[in-house]
Point group: C2
Chain length 240, copies 2
DNA sequence: TGCATACTCAGTGTCGACAAAATTCCTGCG
DNA sequence: CGCAGGAATTTTGTCGACACTGAGTATGCA
């Protein structure tokens, strides 16, 4: 099965069937989603030919997507060998904690300074989506919407340099938290919802000090959650 | 001219002449250097076929290098159109100043915490190279070695997340400063050399507070230099 | 039986060619 | 003379093919 869904007779010459340039984006988005949701766990080798066959396109757009993912740090290219999903460096998680705490603070502060009313609407929409995911107890959706919520705050901060690291950290955090939620099975994510609400209020009120304080508390809370998870179930974490 | 330097008769089949996988790196390094030195000014369109001809390889490795450069933010890809060297956003330089000041501080602090003796040797070697460039009044080399000096400090900090932004900021700073040095013609770069020496001392002594203070002073000084340049010669800056 | 060497093969890196999209140039009309 | 429409050209995006690399396997020798 899955050899071809196309009509075997009608494809006499070639049917583009898909817009020029959309192929790369599709591969990129698909792989990125599967990596962040741990459908492709760290260390998984990615075979270009196999992917090309599965997604029904040539290896060229596949390779371009992989190069972009390598730029994001989500995959690692071993020269003349396969490219693999990047490992999560559990030995140096403190680097991650340190950086994401600082970036939470910086981006939330900047959002308090530079946000427009439109930014606020977008942020609130993401928070609403996050709440829906929490109520539905859908871990995958929770992680994705939580990431989008903070990414929107970063956007409102209007500093592309900070935003580039921040997005990278949020993606890495999504992978790390995915381990947590897969081992504790879609439970309520602590006081995250209320913390988000407080952050929105502070950003709306342009209260920079409150933004900083709330962001730090939020970061500390998440870091504490992850550390608790790691000490409770160290074996699984190390296995990955 | 420049059609081919190879023997026209001997190339009956094909001569690799170059290691597998080295092509992409060569294109990437070459273009990156030319972009950072403003040999390719912002807005310059990059023609794949032309580059392929000049560097004597197919378009495939050229395209891969361009995708990587786009990931670094050095070029901008316009879908179905040419890719161009990224513009410098002079209207929002405060974002750059804000971010690089913070990253100078963070990386120098971390270097003070985590540096090894080997790190210190590498940093001192880069500082020596920088001094040589200053004495030779070679602006291009000054900018490159200054960038490498701070990059080495970032490496000693041992936090890849910070390092990824920091490198990006240093590269952008190299482009911005290149305008400065091209308009003021290779003059002495203010008190940068002494500031570097003081930073090395603080890192060697593991004096975190001094690291932070010196990094902030260094950043402020460079920001002030750039701002002075911009107010003196606004036309040239805006022209770019 | 253990180890070094040669062979096989799956998989990447590069190439040349074709097709789609966009720009440019030309032509005809007002 | 200016402008709209269309043809020609330029340039990018995608494809299939092939050579080279490294890993796994088999083979021969001690």
């Amino acid at each position: 099965m899955a050899t071809s869904f196309r009509s075997p007779t009608a494809s006499q010459k070639r049917l583009p069937e898909r817009k020029r340039g959309a192929g790369v984006k599709y591969v990129y988005d698909t792989l990125r989603g599967e990596i962040l949701d741990l459908v492709l766990p760290p260390g998984t080798p990615i075979d270009e030919s196999q992917l090309a066959e599965r997604l029904e396109m040539s290896r060229t757009p596949i390779r371009e997507a992989l190069v972009r993912l390598a730029g994001d740090g989500l995959v690692t290219t071993l020269p003349n060998r396969s490219t693999v999903v990047s490992q999560i460096d559990f030995m140096n998680l403190h680097n991650f904690f340190d950086a994401i705490t600082l970036m939470y603070r910086v981006t939330t502060r900047l959002a308090g300074e530079n946000r427009t009313d439109e930014d606020l609407e977008i942020i609130r929409a993401h928070q609403a989506a996050f709440i829906r995911a929490v109520e539905a107890q859908d871990a995958r959706s929770m992680l994705a919407t939580n990431r989008d919520f903070h990414a929107a705050i970063g956007e409102a901060g209007r500093n592309p340099y900070y935003q580039s690291v921040f997005l990278r950290l949020l993606d890495e955090g999504r992978r790390i938290l995915r381990i947590y939620y897969s081992s504790f099975d879609d439970r309520l994510p602590g006081p995250i919802v209320q913390e988000h609400e407080a952050m929105i209020e502070a950003i709306a009120a342009r209260d920079i000090d409150a933004c900083d304080q709330l962001a730090k508390a939020h970061a500390d809370q998440i870091v504490a959650q992850i550390q608790t998870m790691l000490t409770r179930d160290r074996r699984q974490a190390i296995a990955l």
